[in-house]
């Protein structure tokens, strides 16, 4: 049945095999090099092993390519059959196909072919069918078949223009400059922890290295801190440029096509019917400049975390509504004009974080017997005030808008009918103050929650979202 993959798949599979066999090979290599004296003979032997490994991998790749067949079954079923000794056959009805990811890794790029992952709603890691190397014509053919199989494909819509937006170089630079995330500080913290461990295990030697490495004086400490922050900022910026370089999103009838990536081009196709909510994320530096990122909550997409979550990396705040009206009118709504929680809720936003930072500061000050950590103590107050100012909600024409802030301000826009569940919650303290929380879940990554609404408003909102 079916046809073979593009011969470039031999290289793809060979590299796969090499990667899987890399660790044992490295061990063999290390043993052969370090086991005996290191001399010309050992080096030769190592090179021999490496060559052998490559040949074996190439043979394995060729075998896998020769025993792999796939077909699109005339738009009925995607079939994949691999192996000769143990045969694996996968069949996916087109109606069950949730997403097709087209990707070009370094090897695929070399041969001008694409890697295609066909995903169903079952949702494991990666696609249920992975085609390592197919040429452009086959990708186009598959997309054509998918479009034909789509339940509400409107032939009349063919003549409609397909709106597309690209990220300009200037915007990419701006996105990179404002992308600072605390996550990139982790490697730095890990390094510090390792240094600490060294000190713990071998105090004398460790202390010597530590003291040698420690900066002297306050100025030096400040310089080190500044250098670490600058490095973290640079890393984050680099990550943004690599990940979002050449970002473009295009609406084609009931699908969104998202292309991105500077080194590794990625293309993801999203069915609009599976988009349940849009999140407008305004991080602190971006909010100061009136900018925001657009994200989508997509149901049943295995790789959504990486690929399909960003609808657009950076927009000016006032561009968001027109952008949505053009590309995703199903979710479009105004960002502003949300109703805030009542004034009496303010202290409930402020007190818990203030208590947390005060406790943390006091505990740290006691533990280190220094007054400096007390500087952390009042930070909870502005955090709480910002949280209160950000909070807002609206339910209009069946569209929900809920805004909240942790560090970044996040506004969820979605049709109420698309929710997975919704909840009304009231603590004993809130009951006395006639306040309540509402949370609307749109997916694993998007739960729109607004705290401390007037209890009647909260009940009204909860009931209005309603059973249907």
């Amino acid at each position: 049945m079916g046809s073979r993959l593009h011969p470039a798949a031999i290289a793809v599979y060979a590299v796969d095999a090499l990667r899987q066999g890399a660790f044992p090979l490295l061990v063999i290599l290390a043993v052969s090099v370090f086991g005996g004296e290191f001399d010309a003979q050992a080096a030769l032997r190592a090179a021999g092993f490496a060559l052998m490994g490559t040949v074996v991998a190439a043979l394995a790749g060729a075998f896998r390519w020769a025993t792999t067949r796939y077909s699109f079954g005339g738009g009925e079923t995607v079939r994949l059959r691999t192996g000769a000794l143990s045969v694996k056959e996968v069949e996916i009805p087109f109606a069950r196909v949730q997403a097709v990811d087209v990707e070009q890794g370094p090897i695929q790029r070399l041969f001008g072919v694409y890697k295609v992952e066909v995903q169903t709603g079952g949702g494991g890691q990666g696609g249920e069918v992975v085609l390592g190397a197919v040429d452009e014509r086959e990708v186009a053919h598959l997309n054509e078949l998918l479009r034909r199989g789509a339940p509400d494909a409107l032939e009349a819509a063919d003549s409609l223009p397909a709106p597309e937006r690209r990220l300009t170089a200037r915007r990419l630079a701006l996105a990179a400059a404002t992308s600072g995330q605390l996550g990139v500080l982790l490697p730095v913290a890990a390094g510090a922890a390792q240094l600490g461990q060294q000190l713990f295990e071998d105090p004398i030697e460790g202390e010597r290295t530590l003291i040698g490495a420690l900066p002297e004086g306050v100025l030096a400490w400040v310089l080190v801190a500044a250098a670490v922050l600058a490095l973290a900022w640079l890393l984050a910026a680099l990550g943004t440029v690599v990940g979002f370089g050449g970002f473009a999103v295009r609406r084609e009838r009931d699908e969104l096509r998202i292309r991105r990536g500077l080194l590794q081009r990625r293309q993801a196709t999203l069915r609009v019917a599976r988009v349940r909510a849009v999140r407008v994320v305004e991080s602190l530096p971006r909010q100061a400049l009136g900018l925001a990122a657009l994200r989508v909550e997509v149901i049943g997409h295995a790789k959504e975390q990486a690929d399909a979550q960003t609808l657009f990396p950076l927009l000016r705040r006032d561009e968001i509504e027109p952008f949505l009206r053009e590309l995703l009118p199903e979710m479009a709504d105004a960002l502003d004009g949300l109703a805030p929680p009542p004034k009496r809720a303010l202290r409930r936003y402020v007190l818990p974080p203030l208590a947390a930072t005060a406790l943390l500061g006091a505990a740290a000050a006691l533990a280190l017997s220094s007054p400096w950590p007390l500087l952390v103590a009042p930070l909870g107050a502005p955090y709480g005030v910002l949280g209160y100012r950000a909070a807002g909600w609206r339910l209009r024409d069946g569209r929900i808008a809920i805004r909240s802030r942790r560090l970044a301000c996040s506004t969820v826009l979605a049709p109420a009918a698309g929710r997975e569940s919704h909840e009304l919650a009231q603590t004993a303290l809130q009951r006395r103050a006639r306040l309540a929380d509402v949370a609307v879940a749109f997916g694993k990554g998007t739960i729109a929650r607004i705290r401390h609404l007037d209890a009647d408003d909260a009940r009204g909102l909860w009931a209005a979202i309603g059973p249907r």
Partner: protein, 178 residues
Amino acid sequence: MSAIPEPAQRLAPHARWAWRATWSIGCCVALVAIALARDALPAPWETIALALALVALVVGTPLVPELRWRRWRWEVREHEIDLQRGILVVRRTLIPMARVQHVETERGVIGQALGLSTVEIHTAAGSHEIPLLRDGDAGAIRSRIAELARTDTDEIARTDAGEPARMDAGEPAGTDDG
């Protein structure tokens, strides 16, 4: 509370015994742990921790399961599942039938002894449960939810190509592939 009538169904009466068992076991474990760690704690804290755990055991065991049982209400309707529970935080959750991906029943060790099962309802955003129902009731409710969810699809679920509310009664999702 709102336009939607409050849920009326309760959990099995001897759910209270299951909770009493887990609560008292938890308190005993805490007591033992505190007693073992007594040297690690500074002077007044050890006594305070022991006292707290003892109070939790003596006062909490009769009180907490009773209150929790009284507050737990649920209802399975044609188009939604309605849950209301909580002592300090009262939560009311509505899950549209069209969003239910699959339903499971599960029975722990204590449930085994008392003949009680927990119904777990999975949606794409996470799972919800109706705990500690009589075994027979739990099975019936699982089948009922499965049946209702199979037939209830709204406009969003229908346009969701190929995912007409993936349903199994009691089996993990994905077994109906291929």
